[in-house]
């Protein structure tokens, strides 16, 4: 009401009205600011006038409509109801002297009662604005409209503030969700993703600490519980996990909605036991479940709001982040599954080749490992090193299309048989050509029997490709790696047609062929390895099934 009067004051003064404000029950809320000294003298000091305005205010509130009355002094009174939206909140009573009243009996009597000189008062009255009594209905309407307009403005301003506040929150949420979804890089892994997420919510929700917990999957799946955090946790990650498992996990799993604990330490102290000693320092806590599929597989936690307590805005925010994060985690999971499946299939493929010929058992595995070592030593990026490893694993896949008799033949091969062998790189590239995810491996596989001097097959490429670029008619760098690794393993293993060569002889042979068959840069790198111990490492690794487990 005070703000309403504040905003109306100027215009009421112009209209020559003295206005008091009343609540619904007719109790006085705001005394009038008298309009001029006539009103102040005549009405301000007389109790009867005050009582008369109060009576009119109650009448207006009861009838819920405007009323016009005459004060004991002869002044005209206009009572109008005040609404906030649709509800009556009180009334305003306006008072003004009329041209008629100065001649009236009431006026003289009121002056006499208060020992005022009627002539002097008339003089005062002429100094201020006076209306004709007949204007009362019009003035009453004007007052009503003014008040209605101001109230409507106030309601609109209030709604606008609310709207802006929620819009601001929505903006905050939107920009956070945008950042989260653009930070969802599948290749980065879940730990990096969750750490990033914790850092973001720490800032946006104004927390001391944030954490993400993923429960252990079914026993035997290999995965264990995972906790990542950002900011300052008042307890250790193990303690946090313990606390979460104790109380929150069942609640989150059951309800599948977020949870607020604004008096966390007290709550757990009541439930007693070991947990209470560990939770010192957690005052307020908010948690959202991470629901993957239809199961709650983890939680997102906000710990200790920096100022104040968690409210529904935080609740809304953490729920939407939680569901967004769950989608990302599910995507990660599917990606990992797909990647594991692909790698499993590729390993199985390579194992099936090695199985065709007992003499070449473990060959693909060893070539892959040697190639990886060479790729690392060449300074290739880690992702590319892994691609080289994979190419090594699959380099001989084309031998599936070569008859076993030829592959296992102990004696010298006929020209026709040798031609069959020479087809295996192309067959391999054709077989794998259908798998979109490994298109980048095809050049290495197709050209792993090419030589620098152009005497290799299938195309007789000449010259060494650069590690950085494509082959452009030269032997691609990855194919050179595979070629050296393949030859080394062939020479150091027993074959149907010969025994394994001694290591010294192998080294001599490699050195002799440097620059003709092999790339001299790679030969130099390779011979810098302690080959005797590397060979032992290769043999034990390729024989153990652990190394054939999926690497991704």
């Amino acid at each position: 009401m005070a703000s309403l009067r504040g905003r109306l004051e100027g215009r009421l003064r112009e209209l020559g009205l003295t206005v008091s404000f009343w609540d619904r029950a007719g109790a006085s809320l705001l005394e009038p600011t008298f309009h001029g000294s006539f009103c102040r003298q005549l009405c301000g000091l007389t109790q009867v006038h005050r009582e008369a305005t109060g009576r009119l205010a109650r009448k207006v509130a009861a009838a819920e409509r405007a009323e016009i009355g005459t004060a004991p002094t002869g002044c005209c009174m206009l009572g109008v109801p005040i609404y906030h939206r649709r509800w009556l909140v009180g009334s305003a009573v306006a008072c003004f002297p009329t041209t008629q009243m100065l001649k009236s009996e009431e006026f003289r009597r009121a002056c006499d009662q208060d020992s005022l000189d009627a002539e002097f008062m008339s003089g005062l009255c002429r100094q201020q604005q006076v209306h004709d009594a007949a204007e009362a209905p019009t003035l009453s309407h004007v007052l009503e409209w003014l008040i209605q307009d101001e109230q409507a403005k106030e309601v609109a301003a209030g709604e606008l503030t609310k709207l802006s506040t929620s819009l601001s929150e929505t903006y905050e949420e939107l920009s956070l969700l945008y950042r989260i979804s653009s930070s969802m890089k599948l290749t980065e892994g879940t730990t990096a993703f969750l750490t990033n997420l914790c850092r973001e919510i720490l800032v946006v929700m104004e927390l001391d600490g944030a954490a993400a917990v993923l429960w252990a999957r079914e026993p035997g799946s290999g995965a264990s519980e995972q906790v990542v955090s950002a900011g300052e946790l008042p307890v250790s990650q193990e303690q946090l996990l313990h606390i979460v498992n104790l109380g929150l996990r069942p609640r989150l799993s059951r309800g599948k909605g977020p949870v607020i604990e604004n008096r966390f330490s007290r709550g757990t102290a009541e439930s007693g036991g070991a947990a209470a000693s560990g939770v010192d320092g957690i005052g307020t806590l908010i948690a959202a479940p991470l629901i993957i599929g239809d199961r709650c597989e983890g939680a997102l936690l906000g710990i200790n709001k920096t100022e104040g307590v968690f409210d529904t805005t935080d609740l809304k925010l953490i729920s939407s982040i939680g569901s967004q994060a769950a989608i990302a985690l599910e995507k990660h999971e599917l990606y990992d599954d797909m990647q594991n499946l692909l790698m499993g299939v590729l390993h199985a493929l390579s194992a099936s080749i090695d199985a065709k010929d007992p003499y070449t058992r473990g060959h693909s595995q060893r070539v892959a490992m040697i190639s990886r070592r060479l790729a690392e030593m060449s300074g290739l990026e880690p992702e590319r090193v892994e691609r080289v490893y994979l190419a090594g694993l699959l380099h001989d896949i084309g031998k599936i299309g070569v008859s076993e008799e030829v592959l296992r033949k102990a004696g010298k091969l006929t020209e026709d048989e040798y031609a069959q062998i020479k087809r295996h790189p192309r067959i391999g590239a054709n077989i794998l050509g259908g798998i979109r995810q490994i298109q980048d491996l095809l050049p290495a596989i197709l050209y792993h029997h090419e030589r620098l001097d152009g005497k290799g097959y299938p195309e007789g490429l000449r010259g060494a490709g650069d590690p950085a670029g494509a082959g452009d008619g030269k032997v691609p760098y990855e194919a050179l790696i595979l070629g050296l690794a393949d030859s080394f393993d062939a020479m150091t293993s027993s074959r149907t047609y010969r025994d394994a060569m001694p290591l010294e002889a192998v080294i001599d042979e490699i050195r002799r062929c440097s620059g003709t068959q092999f790339d001299s840069r790679l030969v130099e790198l390779f011979l810098s390895i302690d080959l005797a111990s590397f060979l032992a490492e290769l043999r034990s690794a390729a024989a153990s099934p652990a190394e054939t487990a999926v690497r991704s």
Binding site: L160, T161, L163, S164, T165, L167, S168, Y171, E172, L174, S175, L176, Y178, V204
Partner: protein, 133 residues
């Protein structure tokens, strides 16, 4: 005395969100719905900082910024420009126009406030430095 910030955007909702955030933080906020209005208000009110959208009728944020740099009474006020995603502007253009910072929509109002604080702080520090030397 509270710092005066002018916010110019032809999208009323952004105008409201930003001005409310700043007003709640104690800044005096004036608003403009297009580039021309923003320019005139800047000349009349000399705000301490200007937040402007890039895409605006009559005068783009970039043009506004260039004009402000030319006028003595407004050349000191740092300009924070809001750009729509997908309408990113060349970095050289931004530097050439003298824009102090840019933010891409959807922005976080909290970050807008933080940036405003930062810009006004460094501005103040530089001013004292200039006085000292």
């Amino acid at each position: 005395m509270s710092k005066k910030v002018l916010v110019a955007d032809d999208e009323a909702h952004i105008l409201h969100v930003v001005s409310m955030k700043l007003a709640n933080a104690g800044y005096e906020v004036i608003t403009a719905l297009d580039g021309e209005e923003a320019y005139e208000l800047c000349l009349a009110e000399s705000p301490d900082l200007v937040i402007t959208d890039y895409q605006m009728p009559y005068l783009t944020g970039l043009e506004l910024c260039k004009r402000l740099r030319r006028d003595k009474s407004t050349m000191q006020a740092p300009v924070l420009m809001l750009t729509a995603r997908g309408f990113e502007i060349e970095q050289e253009e931004i530097i050439a126009a003298g824009v102090a910072a840019t933010m891409t929509k959807p922005f976080s109002p909290r970050e807008v406030l933080a940036t405003v604080k930062r810009l006004l702080e460094t501005d103040g520090k530089e001013a004292t430095k200039r006085k000292a030397t």
